[in-house]
């Protein structure tokens, strides 16, 4: 294990640690609310996994500064659509020496966050309903009640 590998991969290891903590909460605890908390931690670690992959060393957020945008608009007024370079033309070679981190993971994770809160709300509503019906939110007590009903 070289030092280069540690520097290049530590972000994944942090994410795996957080993910496994969430997984542990889900499988080790019988309280339903605690399970939802575990799922939330798991979910956030997946967001972090994607976001760390989009990062470029020395990069900045993918928001084009007004100065650069103006210069770009005046330089290519008509043939802007012809500016796509050859395949493999990386982000860091374009935009007047400004390096942008990859915007695509951000977009995917924005969608995932909103969908995640929707599913969390649904799960919490189900827990409230289960509590009304069974009088408990402990998984093993619910199974016990089901067995003897």
């Amino acid at each position: 294990m070289s030092i280069e590998q540690v520097v290049g991969l530590y972000n994944y290891w942090i994410v795996v640690f957080l993910m496994m903590t969430g997984f542990y909460i889900v499988i080790a605890r019988t309280n339903l609310i605690k399970s939802i908390i575990g799922l939330n931690i798991f979910q956030t670690s997946v967001f972090l996994l994607y976001i760390t992959m989009g990062r470029i060393n020395g990069g900045t957020a993918p928001i084009i500064p007004a100065v650069v945008a103006d210069a770009h608009a005046h330089a290519h007024p008509a043939d802007a659509h012809a500016t796509d370079g050859p395949a493999g033309h990386s982000l860091h070679e374009t935009a007047d020496e400004l390096i942008y981190s990859n915007p695509l993971p951000s977009v995917l994770m924005l969608t995932a966050i909103v969908v995640g809160i929707a599913t969390t709300a649904l799960a919490l509503a189900l827990i409230v309903r289960i509590r009304e019906e069974y009088g408990t939110v402990e998984e093993d007590e619910i199974l016990e009640l089901d067995r003897y009903s």
Binding site: Y12, W13, N40, M53, N57, I63, H72, H89, S90, L124
Partner: protein, 182 residues
Amino acid sequence: MNLIAFAILALLAATAVTVARMRDLWAAIMFTGIYSFLSASWMLILDAPDVAFTEAAVGAGIATVLMLSTLALTGKEERATTRSPLIPLLVVTVTGGALIYGTLDMPHFGDPSDPIHLYPNPSFVEKSQEDMHGLPNVVTAILASYRGYDTLGETTVVLTAGIAVILILRRDESHPEQQESP
């Protein structure tokens, strides 16, 4: 910059472990909010301000409020479990070990030659300036236009979840006797 990032990562790991060990659900939910906020801070360092804002607002804000209101309806204390934590710990360690073994092949963090930065052709970042008539934020351009159908689908999911929550929590006023039957 690196020192701040490492401090945030250490706090993230500590918060996650604290949540796992805690019995008091109210405190655990508060720590989940802190966890979301810390991950939003790390996202900001990783050049994703849009995701950081959303995570801080939705993860640390709305999720905490939803969980606290559920807690008000269900009860605060988690009952002490009689199950041994050994089997879950074993499962988690084995899974984590397998995942870490899998990361050894992954492209390195922040390297500009990573496949994710080369495909699809990143010139769409430049083109978005023309296509969106000078909209500066590339994330907004992709979210609202290039991947607009995806966002439409996301809105559908939120609508469906909202309708489902209303249907689950609705009290049936017309049949009060049904509430009594088991």
